[in-house]
């Protein structure tokens, strides 16, 4: 390294400068809207509207967050989304492992047919109406299963998982366990899964984020407000202009409430995004590994 530094030429220094500049631009451009969002949510609404909040909160207040806390729909939506995410992700994991482990075995007959069946679903799907009719025919309309079952196994994730089992778990381990009379299922649970923590973390992120952010299935398949996930409540508050009535403030005619809505928007965004933004740095080191496995051809 030291030798390199001595030899580094003027062009190299210029090149390095350009790289750092571009990286810094990417950093600032990505970060600024998020910082603004946080600052605005903690600021006095009047300061936000006047454009006095640029980087740091002005006349810091928790008013917006208090309004969010009082909002019953937000609360229900939040609880529903946590519930759907937990149940959904667990089922995703079980089903994906249940499909990926068998087809990772080279002498498992039928693995090619199953792989082809899944690959087709990557590029072709029934579409909105046939899916909707199916959900209705199955009697799942307005039930939580309509959000969880249709996306139970993602073909992409299945391929990633299968490839991981094939490349990261030595075949001899499973074979010798089998020779010792250990059933395949037992081998999977006792030996393979404990060795698969990185890929399971990647799956938790992929599926978990999907459930947390999912919006459209709920729009199509749910009717009762009591079952609405966070995303549908967010849409009402943020995008349909009916936010004001739903902010928890009963009287909306007052200018103060209208004004409060300006910071409430940001508070709502922060409150709903924080769990995912906290979860991912914890699992970040696994991403590259997961992406690497997944990038290999199926």
């Amino acid at each position: 390294m030291k030798a390199n530094r001595i030899r580094s030429s003027r062009e190299d220094r210029a090149f390095s400068f350009v790289a750092y500049t571009l990286a810094t631009i990417a950093l600032v451009v990505t970060l600024y809207p998020l910082i603004y969002c946080v600052s605005a949510s903690f600021s006095d609404p009047m300061e936000v509207v006047r454009g006095n909040v640029l980087l740091f909160p002005k006349k810091a207040t928790l008013l917006a967050y208090q309004a969010v806390a009082k909002n019953q729909s937000m609360f229900t939506g939040y609880a529903n989304t946590i519930f759907y995410t937990l149940i959904g992700t667990s089922l995703n994991l079980i089903m994906t492992i249940a499909a990926a482990y068998p087809i990772s075995k080279r002498d498992f007959r039928g693995r090619n047919a199953i792989t082809v069946l899944f690959t087709i679903t990557m590029f072709f799907s029934g579409g909105m109406v046939p899916n909707f009719l199916l959900i209705r025919d199955l009697g799942m309309y307005d039930s939580i299963w309509s959000l969880i079952l249709p996306g139970c196994v993602s073909a992409w994730n299945l391929v990633i998982m299968r490839t991981y089992f094939q490349t990261a778990i030595p075949e001899e381990i499973c074979e010798s366990a089998y020779m010792d009379g250990c059933s395949n299922l037992k081998t999977l649970i006792r030996i393979v899964l404990p060795l698969s923590a990185p890929i399971i973390a990647v799956m938790v992120i992929f599926y978990g984020v999907g459930h947390w952010n999912s919006y459209f299935n709920a729009l199509l398949y749910l009717r009762s407000r009591a079952k609405y996930p966070l995303s549908l409540v967010l849409r009402e508050i943020l995008l349909q202009g009916v936010g004001q009535e739903k902010t928890g403030a009963e009287v909306i005619d007052s200018v103060a409430d209208l004004l409060l809505f300006e910071t409430l928007k940001y508070a709502v965004i922060i409150v709903s995004s924080v769990p995912m933004l906290l979860l991912y740095p914890a699992l970040q080191r696994y991403f590259v590994k997961g992406a690497m496995v997944g990038s290999l051809k199926g």
Binding site: A26, P102, D107, R109, V129, L149, V153, L220, M292
Partner: protein, 316 residues
């Protein structure tokens, strides 16, 4: 011993034997995968079978098999619809522009990050640029709406401070595509760069040393070592993106759509939703969607074929 025994069998016997052996050895795994196959057939293949209604005048009470067969009637109706050309062009423009502008970004970011020698700074930039990926589409559009809000949104407040006048960007057709694409780049670039970063980790450091000994500076090393190393990944991603060319983020277009920007924001997927789910024209909506899928599939096959011939990289 097994080998000699198998040599004397017919292909069918060998086939039956290997199945028997597999079933005996893996019977518990067959039980394990069974529910997944049942799920696959019900939730993926049953709807595919359901697309038959695109060729029928489907009535829910008669079912898929009982409804009247009408051939390509609904497709013709779509092709002759007064807004067919607009919807098709909106879809194509949105996705092609999005592909052109956003595709190179993650590659650029990965190349830049690869040149950052300060590990902690590199990690910081990575962590921050991944973050927007974790925002939901609803939040994303809410954020755009809040920033661009007339009179009180950040952008308009700043413009007005500088003496300009407030513009309702979300209600103007001409801003729809730029807003859509810029926000897409903001949200996805960091996350998409991961795959290129992982391709970069597999480059043999000796290649860089060899380049340096040959007198290459860092820019030349990037040109002749780094870029060729990530090119196959880039081609794979390009083929995949082309295969989804007609699937421009439906949720986002749907959420950003309003009566005033409809001229640019009405794309095939939002139209499918409108005629199918709002107006309950099930067969017509399915036909439009099928048309969309067929174009996607055709694009995928064509691009894959081109890539196979030109660069010997392909999806299969």
């Amino acid at each position: 011993m097994q080998h000699t025994a198998m040599g004397s069998r017919t292909p069918f016997q060998r086939f039956a034997y290997s199945w028997k052996r597999s079933l005996l050895k893996y019977w518990d795994l067959y039980l394990l995968i069974l529910p997944v196959i049942v799920w696959l057939l019900i939730f993926k293949y049953r709807p595919m079978y359901g697309t038959i209604i695109a060729f029928e005048d489907f009535s829910p009470s008669r079912g898929v098999l009982g409804s009247k067969w009408v051939g390509f009637k609904h497709f013709e109706r779509f092709f002759n619809a007064y807004n067919f050309e607009d919807i098709l062009m909106n879809t194509v423009k949105l996705s092609v522009f999005q592909l052109i502008f956003s595709f190179p970004m993650p590659i650029l970011l990965a190349l830049v990050l690869n040149e950052i020698r300060n590990k902690r700074y590199k990690k910081l930039v990575q962590t921050v640029t991944y973050a927007p990926f974790f925002l939901s589409t609803v939040v994303m559009v809410g954020l755009i709406d809040a920033f661009l809000y007339p009179e009180t949104g950040l952008l308009n407040v700043l413009v007005m401070k500088l003496g300009g006048s407030s513009v309702n960007y979300m209600a103007k057709e001409e801003y729809f595509r730029p807003i859509f694409i810029i926000s897409h780049i903001w949200k996805g670039t960091g996350w998409s760069s991961i795959i290129y970063m992982s391709a970069l980790t597999s480059i043999d450091p000796q290649l860089y040393e060899a380049a340096r000994i040959d007198g290459a500076n860092r820019f030349q090393s990037m040109l002749h070592v780094t870029i060729p190393a990530i090119l196959p990944t880039a081609i794979i991603m390009l083929i995949r993106d082309c295969g989804n060319i007609m699937d421009v983020g439906f949720e986002k277009a749907f959420l950003m759509q309003n009566d005033l920007n409809m001229g640019a924001s009405e794309v095939i997927s939002t139209y499918v939703y409108k005629v199918g789910m709002v107006n309950s024209q099930y067969s017509y909506s399915t036909a439009v969607n099928l048309f969309n899928s067929v174009i996607n599939l055709a694009m995928l096959l064509v691009v894959n074929k081109i890539s196979k011939t030109v660069s010997e990289t392909s999806l299969w």
